[in-house]
């Protein structure tokens, strides 16, 4: 072992350690930001280590430097610009896009090695070694392609560029996906048999498989899918590690793959969905319209913004339940203005955050933090649920399924068992909503029929703006 090899070895070890500490730290609120930086540091360190190693051993040609610099500058520049510009509400699709590009990178590496075998990459070439090489190339291409197309479809669906086509909700989709899966298996074995041209077949069918698997999945389940695809991109990276013989890649890829899997599981639990039903069940609304819960509303009370303002003014304790609709309407700043007024009047305001509020688990916390809501006012479901009976007014903003009492009372409901916020225990509940349409589950919300619930119809942002006006007229929040 000469010096560059030893140095690279040490740097790689340190990088792995830092990455592990980074992932660990990211799961705690206090350490999260530093942990993220630590991980970033580890990544830059690993690049320095690799470059140093090649400079010390084989050297790096000028031509290589040029292409390295072109690729790095363009990639980093676009990445940094997008990361700075993108609004916080579009976080889910941004993560999907980044993730897809990671998958694409693994795919390209494997493709490059497959078409132009690296010289000097395989000393003591033998059959076993080449078999491993071909298997890892195939896995890298397969997983990389699925990650890429799956993520792009997920992004397009979240952006509203793609809707869920009708045929994907029928059984046909299973047939189509099985065909793609079998075709990729055939391409895989053909490739191992030494037929290099079937690599293109593998690229194409696994790309289609990624599309076919993601397309049928409904909007609310998308975060789970993105998390799963994130896990895949880790696996793709680990496979690429086998292709280029890099332990660091394998460790880091495996870590992300495994951690992503756990996170996916955690998310599923929060939404009361099993991973299998997310992946193969199609979108939830499609199945449940035929089953229970499609009953009519019988006892809807609708009220004006003015009444809502009057009730708020008289309250001592208000709990806000923000949901997906608030995120879509981008009304978090307006909401903050309303709550500021209430606070100035001495009213206690708390935000009840359901584990899957917003467009992604934890997304609502980010949005409210962006609107300057103090962190201590965000209460998690288990903490806030006992408080509802002592609460005067609950404002439900664009949330639906997460406040449906059916989940507790009606064992025949598809929602049964899902953890929900017990808003009906409060004295008065205002639900701000565009219309009577159902939530993601497509299930009637019993909350709306309760005598202490009033509906305020309208776009969340507009209603909140009107509410600010009414509160002003009432003299709330003025010194």
């Amino acid at each position: 072992m000469n010096l560059p090899v030893i140095i690279k070895f040490v740097i790689d070890l340190v990088a792995v350690l830092l990455l592990a500490l980074g992932i660990k730290g990211l799961s705690k609120v206090k350490s999260a930001r530093d942990a993220n930086r630590l991980a970033a540091l580890a990544m830059s360190l690993s690049v320095v280590g690799l470059l140093f190693y090649y400079l010390g051993t084989s050297g790096i040609a000028i031509q290589s430097w040029i292409w390295i610099i072109i690729g790095s500058i363009l990639g980093s520049l676009f990445g940094a610009i997008l990361a700075k510009k993108v609004p916080m509400t579009s976080m889910p699709e941004t993560v999907a896009l980044f993730n897809g590009c990671g998958g694409m990178s693994s795919l390209l590496v494997a493709l490059g090695v497959a078409i132009f075998p690296i010289s000097g990459g395989q000393e003591n070439f033998d059959f076993f070694k080449s078999l491993i090489n071909e298997v890892s190339i195939s896995v890298s291409i397969f997983v990389g392609a699925i990650t890429f197309t799956g993520s792009i479809v997920a992004m397009a669906k979240l952006q509203g560029w793609l809707s869920t086509p009708g045929w994907t909700q029928s059984k046909v989709r299973h047939f189509v996906n099985i065909v793609f899966a079998v075709a990729s298996l055939i391409a895989f074995f053909d490739l191992i048999n030494g037929n290099t041209s079937s690599i293109w077949l593998l690229v194409i069918v696994s790309s289609f498989l990624g599309i076919g698997v993601t397309l049928p999945i409904g909007g609310a389940d998308m975060p789970v899918v993105i998390s799963l695809l994130n896990s895949y991109s880790g696996i793709a990276a680990a496979a690429a590690g086998f292709v280029v013989d890099s332990q660091l890649l394998i460790v880091a890829g495996a870590m992300v793959g495994a951690a992503g899997l756990i996170l996916t599981q955690v998310m599923c639990k929060g939404m009361n969905r099993s991973l299998v039903s997310v992946l193969f069940g199609g979108s939830l609304s499609a199945q449940s319209t035929t089953s229970s819960g499609s009953g009519e509303y019988t006892n809807i009370t609708s009220c004006s913004v003015e009444e809502c303002a009057l009730t708020l003014e008289a309250a001592n304790k208000v709990i806000i339940v923000p949901g997906y609709g608030l995120a879509v309407a981008q009304a978090q700043h307006t909401l903050r203005e309303v709550t500021k007024k209430l606070e100035q009047n001495g009213i206690e305001v708390v935000y009840a955050i359901h584990p899957v509020a917003g467009r992604m688990p934890g997304h609502m916390n980010v949005l409210l933090a962006e609107a300057d809501v103090p962190y201590e006012q965000l209460k998690e479901m288990d903490v806030v649920n006992p408080d509802f009976p002592a609460t005067d007014v609950v404002l439900v903003l664009g949330a639906n399924d997460v406040v449906n009492p059916q989940a507790k009372n009606d064992s025949s409901s598809p929602l049964y068992g899902m953890p929900v916020l017990d808003v009906q225990e409060a004295r008065t509940v205002f639900v701000i909503k565009r219309g009577m349409s159902a939530g993601y589950s497509g299930i009637k919300n019993d909350l709306f029929d309760l005598p202490n619930t009033s509906m305020v119809f309208g776009d969340a942002k507009k209603v909140l703006n009107d509410l600010i006006g009414e509160l002003k007229d009432l003299g709330v929040g003025e010194k």
Partner: protein, 97 residues
């Protein structure tokens, strides 16, 4: 590295990943996903290797460079966006008394 030891590395890495995330507060799901996602851009090392070992093979250089670009887009964008999200949590509650 022999194949077997690489398999060990894979196994231990996976176990480490499973162990690292036990309890995550829902608040952090989005940033954690985004941060882990940035780390999966580690394939940039593979892309770099490809470019260095291309030895003047222009198509391979281009593939490597594009791959490196995609990976860095993932890494740089991922870390920045995660930092942006997390910065919001650590912001001082300015409106409290």
């Amino acid at each position: 590295m022999s194949f077997i030891s690489l398999l060990w590395v894979l196994l231990l890495g996976s176990l480490l990943g499973l162990e690292l995330i036990g309890k995550v507060p829902p608040t952090l799901h989005t940033p954690l996903m985004s941060g882990a996602n940035a780390i999966s851009g580690i394939t940039m090392l593979a892309a770099l290797t490809l470019i260095v070992k291309a030895e003047g093979n222009v198509p391979l250089l281009i593939i490597g460079s594009v791959s490196l670009g995609f990976a860095l887009f993932n890494v740089v964008g991922g870390f920045f966006v995660t930092d942006r999200m997390l910065a919001m949590f650590s912001r001082k509650p300015s409106n409290k008394k």
